[in-house]
């Protein structure tokens, strides 16, 4: 599970944003805003990861339970899929 080429994650005034550069601007004409968890997950998706790995990372870093981690990851994958940002 990996994000398409040309999307970068940045922090702007304590918010996180995803914007396209280069050819990606032809497909995606705007900006996606994320919260801290979203940014955490997106960063890993840029490098390439799996649903299970994401859940595990959330549990390790944020010390949350498995159910919450699963919900967060599933919801976020859905959001990214809807924006058509996956390879």
């Amino acid at each position: 599970m990996k994000i398409k080429e040309g999307y970068i994650l940045r922090e702007v005034a304590e918010s996180y944003v995803v914007v396209p550069i280069g050819e990606a601007t032809l497909d995606f004409n705007g900006m996606m805003t994320l919260n801290g968890t979203g940014a955490f997950l997106f960063e890993r998706m840029i490098k390439g990861t799996t649903k299970e790995k994401l859940m595990q990372d959330l549990i390790t870093i944020y010390k949350i339970d498995k159910e919450t981690a699963k919900t967060d990851v599933v919801d976020f994958i859905k959001k990214v899929k809807e924006a058509d940002l996956f390879e």
Binding site: V12, A13, S15, V19, M31, T33
Partner: protein
């Protein structure tokens, strides 16, 4: 009409030394206010050079700017390049109509066709001689000596309304149409996607995008930002002014 030879002149735009080459009247005429006849600087020393070969315009006419005249293509290309250079000067462009009253520029920003110019035009009607349009389409914003300013530039859209002036930036208002008039401040977080949508954003390089986001972050955290719903009436002007006036 195609000029045989392009003209190369020196300009001062948003306090920046610019060398610009023009083939066509539109941009040349609009830039006259900014022309510097005997510049104190050497043309080769300007960092900002807006100089396209005519082949570039021809390429644009065959691709992304089909249906535009060469005059308009030159206007778009020179303006677009200037706005990218602006990023290196602690500045950015905001797609908005900027009206000045009491020494402050108030920027009304929205997608094309929403009614930015219509609204600022009502300010002129309301304030008469006390108000003027700084730039009706894409004012340049720059942070100079710790303070944000708005500038007129030659690139001011269809109405060609612009003044070669530097004015303290009073407020930015994101506009939408509404049956009744209302205005409220918005948070920095709310401002981010709105501002981004109205500035330079189709970029090829990460460094340029970083410059956009950096300058944007400064403006929205240091200048009052509002959103407003308005109709076409004098009341719309009063509603906005009473809320955002800095004097």
């Amino acid at each position: 009409m195609i000029k045989e030879k392009p003209i190369v002149e020196q300009y001062k735009i948003a306090d920046i030394d610019v060398t610009m080459k023009t083939y066509y009247q539109r941009t040349y005429n609009q830039a006259k206010k900014y022309h510097v006849k005997n510049p104190s600087w050497k043309p080769e020393d300007t960092d900002v050079r807006l100089s396209f070969g005519h082949e570039y315009y021809e390429m644009k006419k065959n691709t992304t700017l089909k249906g535009s005249t060469f005059e308009d293509i030159e206007y778009i290309c020179t303006g677009s390049l200037f706005n990218r250079f602006l990023l290196k000067y602690n500045g950015c462009m905001l797609h908005s109509s900027a009206v000045v009253v009491d020494g402050h520029a108030y920027l009304f920003s929205a997608n094309s066709g929403t009614g930015k110019s219509t609204h600022t035009n009502l300010w002129i009607k309301h304030f008469g001689e006390k108000a003027f349009i700084l730039n009706d389409d894409k004012p340049a914003l720059r942070k100079v000596n710790g303070c944000w300013y708005a500038y007129g530039t030659p690139w001011s859209g269809k109405t060609d309304l612009n003044s070669n002036k530097k004015v303290k930036l009073g407020a930015i208002v994101f506009l939408e149409r509404s049956d009744n008039n209302w205005i409220e401040p918005i948070s920095v977080k709310e401002a981010i996607p709105r501002f981004f949508r109205q500035t330079v954003r189709k970029l090829d390089f990460e460094e340029t995008m970083d410059a956009v986001l950096e300058n944007m972050e400064k403006v929205i955290t240091e200048v009052p930002i509002y959103k407003m719903g308005c109709n076409i009436s004098d009341d719309a002007v009063v509603t906005a002014y009473e809320k955002i006036r800095r004097v």
